[in-house]
Amino acid sequence: MIQCEFDRRRFLQWTGASVAAAMTTQLSFESLANAASRSPLPAKTPILVLVTLYGGNDGLNTVVPYTDPVYRSVRANIALNSSQVLPFSPTMGFNASMPMIRDLFGRRKVAVVQGVSYPDPNLSHFASMAIWQSASLTGEPTGWIGRWLDQQPHSPFNAIAVGSTLPPAFVGQQTVASMVDVGGMQLPWGPVATVLPRLGGRAATDGTLEAAAAGSIADLYATAQRVGPHIPKSRSGSWINQQLSLVSALINANVPTRVWEVNVASFDTHTGEVGDQNSLLSDVDTAIGAFMKKISAGDRANDVTVMIYSEFGRRVASNASQGTDHGTAAPVFLIGNRVKGGLYGEQPPLKHLDPNGNLKVTTDFRSVYGGVLHDVLGTPVGDIIPGWKSALSVH
């Protein structure tokens, strides 16, 4: 897996998006706390949470056609058997690492859109992710959320990516999204804890930078007081769990943000796929389960839609190293209390592949975006994805 490690950092390095990232705002918790109290997101405003799986998640071992004889024969060394799936039909089941999503699916809160990609799929991580994030086949320099941002009244809170680098999807022509650091808020402890808040005060002799340094201390304390009760105290759990815990806390605190992005890397399972992918899917599943629980318990229970996607699925036949190489179509997940759960689109047949041995595309990803733009962001699709009107609605 490590030979071809693909994550957002390397993607950004390739695409030059780090230049746009230089224009972005790193939001402090204090500014988020202020925004949540001064201009809270109006009740019932729909919210989108994007979960990007970098590296190319293997769709066939996520939503598994586990009884298909072709599946069992062409990937004999990594095929999951009936005890390794959670069936939802006589022929299909979720990877057994996904009990929470299986449960949400049973309660009809998960839409699985099958066979999603774009025409003439490109097997490069970089080209493929650029197409997904720009929603364009022709190298549009802006991202689809970025173009939506361009249409909104300006505010640094409209769209926020968690972490330290900005995804190209969040870069518009005039506007770029903001970012927020993940990480629990942990106040200093011990006797010095009574001294430190005083170091965060202002001094008449401070220059700009001393004031900013003092501000970093004040920010930590102010945030701990204002949004602290909402923010996860510990850094427990996987990276995706830490990110989604933070997002659920900020959503429940009414931060005026319509679109969030979190990400997980390392889905590029060229070798030893089953163990690696199961563990990654389990991280995502646990995090989504906890996220939906927290959202459902708050005032935003019916406002949030989660979309999970990756730049491509993987080759139908496995390789000799118990892994799979880059492929094409894969399922996209849409999750939310307002989502009409079930299967959408067609599962691409395993018997009729493209010349590279990859799945044929049955759903254009722009239709999925179309549904999200229309149902969640309330925007005409054609304004964001030029020349595209179709919307696959799951709401």
Binding site: E5, L12, S18, V192, L196, L199, A211, A213, G215
Partner: protein
């Protein structure tokens, strides 16, 4: 300690020590204040003598681990463990050197060049080629930039980081060619896209052996046809390309600006004369010109210490060897603050200024400070309580505490460890005033 020193003397001495030497060792600030500015400049520029501090750290032997093993086996396990251990040791070894150096200028400059050539281990993965790159940067840190550029353009870790191992005549990859000109030598606006495309062809034929970082030129896959680059038409290879680019007058301005930006001020521009000191691409001459600059008295030239600079400075003052701390915790906390050596976020290098000063990062700063203080030597605080706050400033090389900080420190006088903790977490110590 030095009541006769004026604020300006204290400021300039503090700046020189922090910007060029990672901050003072115990007692050094007071000594230099007594000896005056000329002596301070000479001290911080001290370079080339055998360094007993570095001798004490010792060399870091590292084996070539060879290619990746296949599948799961005891041998594969041992390989991955060795990869992890060597990577960990390399980071701690460098931090140790920064802390232990008696003449830290060379390590400080190597640290600057690491950010300049901004290569992350995340591409090549092996620690061995990263150590090789460290050696190259250390060797040329204060030498001639032309030699450095010619060595770096064929550095294995940089070639892999910027995809030159995927640069083929039939399908050129321009990444190394472009960044070499844009970020490393002459800056944007001083070349055209045609120059980039031609430079990419000049860089074809080089392949990197990942485990060792050895770069070899295969004449069969190298584009050996005259190319026009920056108006010069000839047969190019990596070294002659570097030679040509470094010869451009823009190179002097570009590198002088980069040093000014990282050592003096990220907001102002250097005097045009600074680039003249780099006419021969002599890095020591440029550094010396900077150290002798009149900029140090300008109150505006404040800088935020990067996390590594802050950490190393505190370890120097408290006589803490980083590798004696829990190295996993040190590296995790530094990476949370955004700066782990050998892991710059992208080819543009580390960020700067207030980006280092988020509330979230203060939590990690606090944890690191705690680790340093619990392992630290607090002897410099063994003075009368009345003098402790001032002793703290002299110890850490802080020109002056603000009333805010002085008052806060007074509350911690009863416990020296609390006082030390508060002092290294103070706004005055997070920045270089």
């Amino acid at each position: 300690m030095s009541p006769s020193a004026t604020y300006q003397q204290r400021l300039v001495t503090s700046r020189l020590l922090h910007r060029f030497n990672f901050g003072p060792t115990p007692g050094q600030y007071g000594n230099l204040l007594r000896h005056g500015l000329d002596a301070t400049v000479a001290t911080v520029l001290e370079y080339g003598r055998p360094d007993p501090g570095l001798t004490a750290v010792g060399p870091l032997p590292m084996a070539n681990l060879g290619p990746y093993p296949n599948g799961n086996s005891a041998k594969a396990d041992a390989f991955w463990k060795a990869m992890q251990k060597d990577t960990n040791d390399l980071v701690m070894w460098w931090l140790d050197r920064m802390v232990a150096a008696q003449y830290p200028l060379a390590e400080r400059m190597t640290w600057f060049w690491h950010g300049h050539w901004a290569t992350s281990i995340s591409a090549i993965n092996y620690p061995f080629p990263m150590k090789k790159q460290y050696n190259t940067l250390r060797q040329h840190a204060l030498g001639n930039f032309r030699d450095m550029a010619k060595a770096m353009v064929v550095d294995g870790a940089l070639n892999v980081w910027l995809n030159n191992d995927q640069n083929f005549i039939a399908a050129p990859n321009e990444n190394l060619a472009r960044e070499f000109m844009e970020l490393m030598t002459i800056g944007v606006g001083h070349y055209t896209q045609d120059d980039v495309a031609a430079a990419a062809l000049a860089l074809t034929g080089y392949s990197t052996d990942y485990p060792t970082g050895r770069v070899t030129l295969n004449p069969k896959t190298h584009f050996d046809v005259p190319l026009s680059i920056l108006g010069t038409l000839e047969h190019f290879n990596a070294q002659s390309l570097a030679d040509l680019v470094v010869s451009r007058s823009e190179n002097a301005t570009f590198i002088a600006n980069r040093l000014w930006f990282r050592f003096v001020s990220s907001t102002s521009t250097p005097p045009p004369t600074l680039a003249q000191s780099f006419a021969h691409r002599d890095i020591m001459a440029l550094v010396s010109a900077l150290a002798h600059s009149s900029a140090w008295t300008d109150p505006a030239n404040t800088m935020v210490k990067s996390p590594v600079e802050w950490f190393v400075g505190a370890c120097r003052a408290l006589k803490v060897r980083p590798s004696k701390l829990n190295s996993g915790d040190v590296q995790w906390l530094l990476s949370q603050m955004g700066q782990l050596p050998f892991n710059p976020p992208n080819v543009g290098g580390w960020t700067f200024g207030t980006a280092w000063l988020s509330g979230v990062s203060f939590q990690y700063r606090f944890e690191l400070a705690q680790m340093i203080v619990s392992a630290g030597d607090l002897a410099p605080l063994a003075v009368e309580p009345l003098n402790m706050v001032q002793a703290c400033a002299d110890w850490l090389g802080v020109a002056e505490w603000s009333p805010r900080t002085a008052n806060a420190l007074t509350l911690a006088l009863a416990t020296p460890s609390e006082l030390a903790l508060a002092a290294i977490l103070s706004p005055e110590y997070m920045v270089s005033a």
